[in-house]
């Protein structure tokens, strides 16, 4: 426990941690203000009488389109058609007004920002001790190295959780304050060709959790680089580079080769398995992705612990 307290204190005794929280809060606030502005301009679409015929017309077009769409995009089109039909039969017009749920859904993109900040923390938490020289005083305590590294890893995860909680709560509060609280609007999920209704808060929580899978993996990767190379700028740079470039490169490879599905970046986005978007390579399943992720995760941790525990401290 003392070790966790130490690591937590070392993070929050530095200004950069507060700057990160500040940036996150400002982005959410700016987004809320910006959306209010856009929202006020486009409120004339109040013509509710014809929504059924409009959706029927849209479905007709989409069904035509379906014949000519290539494989990967087919599923998305099918999803829209199914959703529209569900709305028609269940008397649920598409919600055009912007509310707390749509805002929170939009703010889910900021999980990437949280991932970025967490990567910075993870990349620094081991490597900084080396660059400060304090590692020499840290490792000469009656505590084995694995425990020290574990305490650092847990601290990184706690930090990520803390930032995600800030994002979730803040976007809920600001969303409700700016756009109002809409209760009767379940989320429509598309699973195995069926539309299923879901309550919003558990749905959003699960979405945030799913988006955080990538965060967890990339953070662990940054942590490994930090422990193995003992250089924080290298760890930050490499992790962010991979974060930005990895999924693009993987999707390009996925266009040509089937083995792309074994790459880390093809599996970090689990949302397609829960009704949003489509997987990168056809035929991938949730179980497959989870196994691939688990393998990478274990490799990262083994390398991190091995490098930290076994290697001499010569710096």
């Amino acid at each position: 426990m003392g070790l966790l307290a130490n690591e937590w204190i070392k993070i929050f005794k530095r200004k950069s941690s507060y700057i990160m929280i500040g940036i996150l809060a400002i982005i959410v606030l700016v987004a809320a203000i910006g959306m209010t502005f856009i929202n006020n301009q486009g409120t004339e679409t109040g013509d509710n009488g014809n929504w059924k015929t409009a959706l029927e017309a849209e479905n007709k077009d989409l069904k035509e389109e379906l014949k000519s769409t290539p494989g990967p995009y087919k599923k998305e089109v099918e999803r829209v058609i199914a959703e529209n039909e569900y709305r028609i039969t269940h008397e649920m017009p598409r919600v055009t007004s912007y509310n707390v749920w749509t805002f929170m859904n939009g703010m889910m993109g900021l999980v990437d920002i949280v991932a970025l900040f967490t990567i910075i923390i993870a990349a620094g938490i081991v490597a900084s001790e080396f660059s400060w020289g304090t590692i020499k005083l840290l490792l000469i305590r009656p505590i084995n190295r694995a425990k020290i590294l574990l305490s650092k890893y847990i601290t990184v995860l706690l930090y990520a959780l803390f930032m995600l909680a800030i994002l979730f709560v803040l976007s809920f509060i600001l969303g409700a304050a700016f756009f109002g609280f809409e209760q009767n609007q379940p989320h429509l999920a598309y699973l195995d060709g069926q539309i299923v209704e879901r309550a919003q808060i558990p749905f959003l929580l699960s979405q945030y959790a799913l988006s955080s899978v990538g965060l967890l993996i990339f953070t662990t990767m940054a942590f490994m680089i930090s422990a193995a190379f003992r250089n924080s700028s290298l760890a930050i740079g490499l992790s962010i580079f991979l974060l930005l470039v990895g999924s693009i490169v993987t999707s390009i490879i996925a266009g040509f080769f089937d083995w792309a599905k074994y790459l880390l970046f093809a599996n970090t986005n689990l949302l397609p398995y829960f009704g949003t978007g489509t997987p990168m390579v056809e035929g991938m399943t949730l179980a497959f992705s989870l196994i691939v992720l688990l393998v990478y995760f274990i490799i990262f941790l083994v390398v991190a612990f091995w490098a930290f525990v076994k290697r001499d401290v010569a710096a």
């Binding site: 307290a5 130490n6 070392k10 005083l137």
Partner: protein, 305 residues
Amino acid sequence: MVVVSLNNVTKKIGSKTIIDNLSFDVHAGEVFGFLGPNGAGKTTTIRMLVGLMKITSGDIFIDGHSVKANFEEAISKVGAIVENPEMYKFMSGYDNLKHYARMVKGVTLERIDEVAELVGLQNRMKEKVKTYSLGMRQRLGIAQALLHRPKVLILDEPTNGLDPAGIREIRDYLKRLAREEDMAVIVSSHLLSEMEMMCDRIGIIQNGRMIDVQLVNDMVNGGNVSYVISAKPIDQAFNVLQHAFEGINVKMTKQHLHVEGESVDVPKLVKRLVENQCDIYEVKQVNQSLEEKFLEITSEKGGIA
């Protein structure tokens, strides 16, 4: 009582042998100096002592516990600074000490205050380490090392970068700790003059080998002692001394005679000169400094680095 014991410790990095079969003991209540030119292996040895580096072969025992097999027990008896006293600069001195206190059992807040006072930092503890001078950091480093009442205190180049007053202060601390707390203190340095004043015993290391361990008093007084005599007329004095005694070596410079030998009987020597009508202006004992001794030892046993 032997507190630290190195048994045939060897460190190899790749195929290169950095430390070669090093063995020595350090006793409670003494300040042991670890002396050697830069690159001789002092810091490597200290890193192995505190577990920062693995020992290739041989073992180190601290208070009976093997560093290899029982690291946590062994290291709990050790307080150390390896190279510079690097602290978390963005935290206060007090927070730094608390940080290390959380990592061992049984260090109370009172103990932190006690240690802070011992090193004379009690008034600056709330300030960030950023604002500390090098001397203060060095003292905070010692405070950190003393927190858990170790039996062994290891300081790597403790006077590096300190001003003369700071050096003197550290020297006095270390002597006091060894005498009063019966601690075994190990310091390393490449500066002889300092070691001479600080240590009870000095081990000289070169190219990863311990080439000599001596008591400081022996090093200073043992062996040859030389005298400088200024007398007139100098030629006559020279002739008298050259034939007067067995086993002494006399050299003449412009104004002085240099007399060297295992046992020079000064009163007899003076009497003989006076009997031979020489006027004596000065007879002075010259201690061979440790520096010369050090150079002598290192060059005798395997060439100076």
